[in-house]
């Protein structure tokens, strides 16, 4: 590359990015700021620098990116590989660039060659990142309605993804149980994962029509929402046979089947949606040649990532924090945690920031019925607490709902419950504020 072009495309953005990163770290916060600075100076920065790792894996989908990519990273590290990985929340292009910056020399060469780079990537940003990073593997987890105000529709993302399937040299690892995803990935170089375990509650359904011809899909089995075993009566589009699948035996024990050979699967992760994350990670590991014993060990020891399911000690109680961001995640989380035999103290925190989704109507597509049978005391907070309150009121929940509209109210509420455990279900920015607030209180302990 000619010098003046190199200065413009690489050196200048790099300097600006690193400087802003330094400033941001001194002031506190702003993980994607350096990437944003670089991106505004050169949007195609990633295609102008050298390759960050020998092999690059991108993980995308509406739910489960963080958990799936963390599983893959742990499996790779356990096998002795060096892995570059972006933290959750940095999954737009600018976030990925921010992750690369500290490892780049001023001329645009990486200081060390990582064996692997595993990046979780936002569904909408995926096409551009595939173009620029030229990955070896792309994992397509699922497509649910999420942050509708950003994407408009599930179909839009699906059509965008179709344009990179069939890219030479790219292996696609796709959730075959999701008709939208299965319709994207076709042809050579595709592997499928699935789950044949029925989740609690049916939950709302997004896709009912065949993505290929538009007729209704018929299901012989639903794992949850629109995931399951489907077939189109008109054009024959159907669930592909999964290469890796999780099943449950008659004793309720999970097993993972790789090309029809079964192995016992132990995990502390809860909910059918997490079985999909495990299935995906194991399929990726199998493709990369990772030892199965190592993979199963990683899964059984796996602790969930930042905020997704986290436990901390605060306000004199054990506080469980389970992030919710869309109808499916919310329905599944409530169904997985709430049990009529063991009622729990629950806090719901609904915000409407950009990262939460400014359109909160998604709560009306969630199945909140577990709140009717599994709750001791119910607290509702966040900026859109009243909307959540209305959702609960119109779901016919006769019980008492208490509003906690300030952090002080929340603190007092948690302290006041009977028993030791409290379960908080926040949306993204509410979770961030919660953790920030708790970390300032004396005596808070975070367990990772």
């Amino acid at each position: 590359m000619r010098t003046c072009r190199r200065v413009r495309k690489i050196i200048l953005p790099l300097i600006a990015g690193k400087l802003s990163g330094f400033v941001a770290s001194v002031r506190g916060g702003g993980t994607a700021l350096p990437g944003l600075v670089v991106e505004s100076l050169n949007p195609r920065f990633m295609s102008n620098v050298t390759r960050p790792a020998k092999r690059i894996i991108l993980v995308s989908g509406t739910n489960g990116k963080t958990t799936t990519s963390k599983l893959i990273v742990e499996m790779l590290r356990r096998s002795g590989y060096s892995v570059l990985h972006n933290t959750s929340g940095s999954n737009l292009r600018r976030g990925i660039i921010s992750t690369l910056l500290p490892h780049l020399g001023i001329t645009g060469r990486f200081r060390r060659a990582f064996d692997f780079a595993v990046f979780e990537c936002d569904e909408f940003a995926l096409n551009g990142v595939v173009e620029e990073l030229d990955p070896d593997v792309v994992v397509l987890g699922n497509l649910f309605r999420d942050q509708l105000d950003r994407y408009g529709e599930v179909d839009t993302v699906r059509k965008r993804w179709k344009s990179f399937s069939g890219r030479p040299g790219l292996l696609v690892v796709a959730n075959g149980d999701d008709p939208s995803v299965a319709s994207v990935a076709n042809g050579i170089g595709v592997f499928y994962f699935g789950v044949e375990v029925q989740g609690s509650g049916s939950g709302p359904k997004d896709v009912v029509f065949c993505p290929v011809c538009g007729s209704r899909l018929h299901y012989s089995f639903y794992s949850f929402s629109h995931l399951g075993d489907y077939r189109c009566s008109r054009c024959g589009f159907a669930r592909p046979n999964p290469d890796v699948v999780v099943k449950m035996d008659s004793d309720g024990e999970y097993g993972i089947f790789i090309n029809d050979k079964g192995f016992p699967l132990k995990t502390t992760l809860r909910g059918v949606y997490n079985l999909y994350n495990v299935s995906a990670a194991i399929l990726v590991g199998a493709i990369l040649g990772i030892d199965l014993g190592d993979m199963l060990d990683v899964v059984s020891a796996f602790k969930p990532a930042f905020g997704r399911q986290e436990v901390l000690r605060c306000c004199g109680k054990t506080v469980h924090v389970i992030l919710v961001k869309n109808p499916i995640g919310f329905s599944q989380a409530l169904g997985a945690y709430l049990d009529p035999q063991d009622k729990k103290n629950v806090v719901l925190l609904l915000n409407d920031g950009i990262a939460d989704g400014t359109d909160v109507s998604w709560i009306w597509d969630a199945d909140v019925s577990p709140l009717g049978y599994g709750v001791k005391r119910l607290f509702v907070g966040g900026r859109r607490a009243y909307d959540m309150g209305l959702r609960i009121k119109y779901a016919g929940m006769a019980g008492e709902m208490e509003f906690v509209l300030s952090k002080r109210d929340l603190f007092r509420a948690i302290r006041s419950v009977e028993g030791d455990e409290v379960y908080v279900f926040p949306t993204y920015t509410a979770m961030l504020s919660l953790k920030k607030y708790f970390s300032r209180l004396k005596g808070t302990r975070f367990w990772e």
């Binding site: 105000d149 029509f209 538009g214 359109d359 109507s361 009243y386 959702r391 009121k393």
Partner: protein
């Protein structure tokens, strides 16, 4: 004992953006007043049962063309129900398909039921954000919602209201939605009714009037939470209005 039948049109084919919450609201507000609310469903390939209130929500583009073919056989029934004064609540896609026609992004013209004298043209711009509508249909005269649509609708008749914040029907003429007799259509998600209980009750009252041939006064409900939620959205206009 008063009873109303609510018919949910295309509940599986067109049910994005939480619009089915509107059915919950209608149902509960009747039950809380000791009335019977029966909800029936009618989707692609089903016949439409007779109802007092018809609800039709929004959907994704792929659904809209499948539904529009299904609509051909059902248009006449729906037009006649509207002529009889039956109540219709139409949101987004449902609103568009009850108009005269809809021009798709490919330039294809899809016929609507034709009950509302309006037409819609798909556009590449997406009109998204919290909205505030001034409407003389209800008291107090404010309606709060959230819109998310690419279609631009041009009406020949009375709007539901005028846009104070947001885009409304087409982003240029300041109108939002349309009302024709007891047919109410608009682009408001949210869903619409939980934070606008006065509109929910307007729909219920009209349906009772048509069915029982006299005015039925609705008992007041404890709507404190609804109005707190409504007023919270009004307050947003003073500061930065999130889009």
């Amino acid at each position: 004992m008063y009873a109303l039948t609510v018919v949910h049109l295309y509940p599986n084919s067109m049910n994005t953006y939480g619009d089915n919450g509107n059915i919950e609201v209608l149902k509960r507000r009747m039950e809380w007043r000791g009335m019977d609310a029966l909800v029936k469903f009618s989707d692609v390939g089903d016949s439409i049962p007779e109802g007092d209130i018809y609800f039709w929500g929004g959907g994704q583009d792929i659904s809209q063309s499948v539904v529009s073919s299904d609509l051909v056989a059902k248009s006449r029934f729906l037009s006649e129900e509207a002529k009889k004064g039956k109540v219709f609540l139409l949101i987004c896609g449902g609103y568009q398909l009850m108009g005269r026609y809809y021009i798709t992004p490919n330039g294809e013209k899809i016929d609507g039921v034709g009950v509302l004298d309006m037409y819609t043209v798909a556009s590449n711009e997406r009109m998204i954000g919290n909205t505030l509508i001034k409407s003389s249909l209800v008291s107090p005269p404010t309606i709060v919602g959230f819109e998310n649509h690419g279609g631009k609708t041009y009406i020949n008749g009375s709007p539901l209201g005028m846009v104070e914040i947001g885009f409304g029907n087409n982003g240029s003429d300041g109108t939002e939605g349309m009302v024709s007799g007891n047919v109410v259509g608009c682009y408001q998600h949210g869903p619409l009714l939980p934070k606008n209980p006065h509109l929910a009750d307007w729909l219920i009252e009209k349906a009772l009037f048509v069915k029982y041939d006299r005015e039925v006064k609705l008992a007041k409900l404890d709507d404190e939470l609804e109005w707190r939620a409504h007023r919270f959205m009004l307050r947003k206009r003073r500061g930065r209005f999130l889009s």
